[in-house]
Amino acid sequence: MKPKNGVSVYGWGSYVPPYRLTVAEVSRVWGRDPKQYEDELNVKEKAVAGPDEDSATMAVEAAKNALARASVQPSEVGAVYVGSESPPYAVKPTATTVAEALGIGPLSLAADLEFACKAGTEGLQAAIGLVGSGMVKYGLAIGSDTAQGGPGDHLEYTAASGATALVVGPLSPDAAASLEGSVSFVSDTPDFWRRYGAKYPSHGEGFTGEPAYFKHVEGATRALLEELGLKPSDFDYVVFHQPNGRYPLTAARDLGFSPSALKVGLLSPFIGNTYAAASITGFSAVLDVAKPGQRVLLTSFGSGAGSDSFSFVVTDGIEARRPKAKFVMDYVKKRVEIDYALYLKYRGGITLGGGAK
């Protein structure tokens, strides 16, 4: 897919909370061998949001970073999308809270999106469409999650918190990167879900692999390469959705991308799976270092299931924009280790008597 008018990324920014819960600590509590999960998943620890954080607060900090780089006035932003599977309210849009906090609106579109881990790139596709059609000047797409797995469940080791925001606008060499094209690829594949009222999600364990992640990540990526007439060696960086530190390496191998192209954008070994923020946080880390002329592939995956795949070429404007906000690694390196009990307290596993959760 290509929009009628070209679209560029003007700003990018992330937020990862400082608290870390290690795979070793979760293993200790559940009586597992930590090496099993560390090796199998290639994840050492995950980022955990603090007691005064949620998807809205993280989205705001990520968006402030992105808007600083974009150098746009809030009044010029015509659309705000917040993709999350852990919004603070079941009914009441996070996007309006985020818009108000940033000074965007009232003449703006604002919506929450849900598509598991690809809700962030969903928002990106929509923002591209609005900008490319000329309906809005700038669009803000955010993926933000405070994901949780059930106690003792496989996913508890990796379900993490984080946010990334992207500001897109009309094609320009002064922007950070231009969009070459994108593809979305979906099917009803029930690999991971949560029914209303259920506190934690259910999943198909191994089923989340071949029929879900790999089918859609590889299907979308192949379709994009074919549409654009590109091959893996044309890309300097590749970022895949990263539920753990293994799947992206396997997908890269299957598709013919070199592991070195994956490195900068693969953060889940250090921060876990930040769900709707996962692939775009990897993309944000790439933009923190990429040079003009380099080509970047971004393919997300969301359970239920689908993938969005994008090709971007970095443009000259990136150098001037880069220093205007914190880097992803600044957040990754700010690390405060917590134990399982504090994790439960912070993430609502223990209910306080009428108190702040």
Partner: protein
Amino acid sequence: MTVPKYWRKIDAHYRLEGIRCKSCGKISYPPRSSCPYCHSKDVEVVKLPERGKVVSFSLLRSPPKGFEGYVPYYVAVIELENGVRVFGMLTDVFSPDGVKEGTPVEAVFRKISEDGDEGLIHYGVKFRPIG
């Protein structure tokens, strides 16, 4: 807190806004409809700087209702870069020495409290040590 009481102050809480008096020029916080210095009605909303330093602080261990989940937490008077003082809660204080008078801080958007499990979530600005 009623819904309208919270909603009326969203601009001040979410974006750290004060007022500038067009008559005497002074900037003040919180926003009022008249200037607290010269009492003129000719005031306009202004966004305050997001950085400042701690003037005085207290580490609180006996909380009012609704703040138990944060104990212990710091409250402080912060002097922003333009000299305007605000009162607020600190967050993400990780230094083993805690904070001191003069610690530089930046405003961050955070949850402040919740009206139980079914009521509104109250958001606002807290202050985080820089670095």
